[in-house]
């Protein structure tokens, strides 16, 4: 028999939002509730680009923009008309145990100095990061050993963290300049900036934020990287730190004040719209003001609503494909 429910896969960051929408969609429409899989942005896009047809997915969620290589792979498999839908932004916050040391304010520079594998000296020569306590980094920080739980390399969040915090810190501290001055080329400098220490002070989390939370709960000195919505749901256990003096809230992220955030997307196969009942309705419902607007359930759950939502709605209703 022919498939009659929408099939979605992709980012675990987008998953909660997609399932909230799917649930509401199933409640209010005659179409069956879409099936939403998680597994990561890349895994979702890989499935997405396997081809068109009933036994491939209709929508891929992603916590990043689709890459050129992926578009090519899609095209090679016959997936040519792709509609890109940006649903909003995800904020990335730094939080620690409620009763732990007072990690209330951070700057990118502090994180760079705490986590970089190697830090250039005055002459720009790289040396192993000597800092073991947050006070070594900045006397204003609490006296606690450095112990950070950051997303593992399988997570899209890691990329954002490296680029918007570590790299920024590298620049802010002037480390970048010194390295360049010492004759390193741009790529090597970036590489050196973003290389994270592997001596156990920085712990990669390959699991989810729940794992980060569990690790922080069993270690009072730990500081973890979380998604905003995760933090919002666990404010009784976590206390959040400001970044560069800005408190992370949906508002401060939407306005661009809070620096560490990223856009969230989903991608639709245009060819499937004609074949899969409810696909377009679902997409329209997803980006409707009721759902994705600043007052909608997604924002309530922690999604930073897109200020340009109206454009997105037009993209969906016109089925405008990517170029």
């Amino acid at each position: 028999a022919a498939r009659d429910q929408v099939q979605i896969a992709g980012s675990s960051t987008v998953l909660p939002y997609a399932s909230i929408v799917a649930e509401a969609f199933g409640e209010n429409f005659d179409f069956p509730t879409p099936v939403v899989e998680s597994g990561g942005s890349s895994a979702g896009l890989k499935r997405f680009c396997e081809g068109v047809g009933e036994n491939t997915i209709d929508i891929a969620n992603a916590s990043r923009k689709i890459r050129d290589g992926e578009i090519e792979a899609c095209a090679a498999a016959g997936v040519t008309d792709i509609i890109e839908v940006r649903i909003g932004y995800d904020g990335i916050v730094f939080a620690s145990q409620q009763s732990g040391p007072a990690f209330n304010e951070f700057t990118p520079s502090q994180w760079y100095l705490a986590l970089a594998a190697q830090i250039p000296g005055e002459d720009g020569a790289l040396a192993d990061n000597p800092n073991t306590n947050w006070t070594d980094v900045d006397a204003a920080l609490p006296d606690a050993p450095i112990l950070a739980f950051i997303p593992g390399t399988k997570h899209g969040t890691r990329e954002v963290f490296e680029e918007k915090v570590i790299l920024q810190g590298c620049e802010d501290t002037g480390a970048m300049e010194r390295m360049m001055a010492a004759g390193m080329d741009e790529d090597a400098t970036e590489e050196a900036c973003m290389s994270i220490r592997a001596d156990g002070r920085s712990v990669d989390i390959d699991g989810d934020y729940t794992e980060t939370l569990a690790r922080i709960e069993s270690d009072a000195n730990g500081v973890g990287v979380f998604g905003l919505s995760f933090y919002e749901n666990n404010t009784d256990k976590l206390k959040v730190a400001t970044m560069g003096g800005v408190v992370p809230t949906t508002e401060s992220i939407a306005s661009g004040e809070y620096p560490v955030s990223r856009p969230l997307y989903f991608y639709i196969k245009k060819a499937h719209i004609a074949a899969i009942p409810g696909l377009k309705e679902f997409a329209e419902f997803f980006v409707s003001d009721d759902i994705s607007g600043p007052e909608g359930p997604l924002a309530e759950y922690g999604l930073v609503s897109d200020p340009e939502l109206a454009d997105t709605q037009a993209v969906v209703s016109d089925e405008t494909t990517m170029q």
């Binding site: 028999a1 498939r3 429910q5 099939q7 896969a9 675990s12 998953l15 909660p16 997609a18 399932s19 909230i20 799917a22 649930e23 509401a24 199933g26 409640e27 209010n28 005659d30 069956p32 509730t33 099936v35 939403v36 899989e37 998680s38 597994g39 895994a43 499935r47 396997e50 009933e54 036994n55 997915i57 409620q98 699991g207 989810d208 934020y209 729940t210 998604g227 919505s229 995760f230 919002e232 749901n233 666990n234 404010t235 009784d236 256990k237 009721d290 359930p297 309530e300 759950y301």
Partner: protein
Amino acid sequence: MTDATAEHVPSGAGQGSLLAKDARTAKRNAAETRFKTYGLIAVCIGIAMLILLMTSILSNGLSAFRQTTIQVMVELPEDKLDKSGVRDPEVMAKVTTFGYKPLLRDSLIATVATAGIETDLDPKDLEALVSDESVAQLRDFVLANPEVIGQTIPVQVLANGRIDGFFKGRVTYESAALDNNVSPEQLQLAEALKEAGLLRTGFNWGFLTLPDGSDTRPEAAGLGVAILGSLYMMLIVLALALPIGVAASIYLEEFAPQNRWTDLIEVNISNLAAVPSIVFGILGLAIFINFAGLPQSAPIVGGLVLTLMTLPTIIIATRAALKAVPPSIRDAALGLGASKMQSVFHHVLPLAMPGILTGTIIGLAQALGETAPLLLIGMVAFVREYPSGPPEGLFDPATALPVQVFNWTQRSDPAFVERASGAIIVLLVFLLLMNLTAIFLRRRFERRW
């Protein structure tokens, strides 16, 4: 004791009184006691670990089987729900859950007021007392019973997860003070509602029957779809893996010529057991979905993948059990003119049965608890539609119990931790029910010769 006259009287093993133990015997006895104690300790460690894990699972998860509900007198005004007044279902369906939301909020305020409870919570916070699920519940009810429009009816709605958690001890006034999602005032109100008899905590059937709920509705998340999905998959695994595994073992152990080829196959099969389970998912995606065109997220594919994954376990156990049957039994049957096939099926197989059943128990336990291979075939998903009955239902989307555990442990709302532990309890009960027959049969087949 020994007679010195004999030409050769070796210092025999057991001379001297039986009641007095010589040093060597004492040493051997000590070794014996030690050995036996090690055995007992080993068994005890196993059982202690089980108890430890069970206690933690039960203490975390038993509360998932209780659920708090609030009784609200809901007013259903016609002008909001069916302006036309003709009760045309299509028209009525135009009012979405967003339209029902204010209704419920107003009714809740009225209910609280009627019960004589004073509160200075604003309407939004008051509304947060009940689950988001309740509007959907209400809408479904109204669409199914259009005649209630215009009346005020009592509706039993789910309490919000944090309120529910408060009555289970997960949420306290202290934690609420820090929590952005619930305030101590809300908890006070909930207590007052409880005193007024409007709020109660009862057995949570919904946990076993409802489908999964989204991240905002932990209180409405259930295992209905997952239980069906696991059941379907286990039926497939049992129906395929056991006969195929036993048949393959019989061939390899009893009939295959003993040569390099069969050695290779034997090594290969044990090696399959070491293949990470996610690789079976890759295989399943390639063969069953991309090549054979079976649907995604369907128990049939999950069952087939888990069958392939379980086969090595069953084959290894069965072969070991077949090997352990003494050859004299085979000889006896062959000597009477039984064919090899008969000697195997009449004599060897029954004697190997305990081992086969153990392999099945362990294999099924593994299959029932496995998530990784399901990741790639689309079963680690959010699915709210129940699959239909077999055989068609095997092709409908469904999840499985371990998937639900996996998903729930990743959600941000701590209420899902309790649900995940509850799901583990259900999974273990499921496993126990499944194994009971096998354990019973195994006891019947056990004998020494």
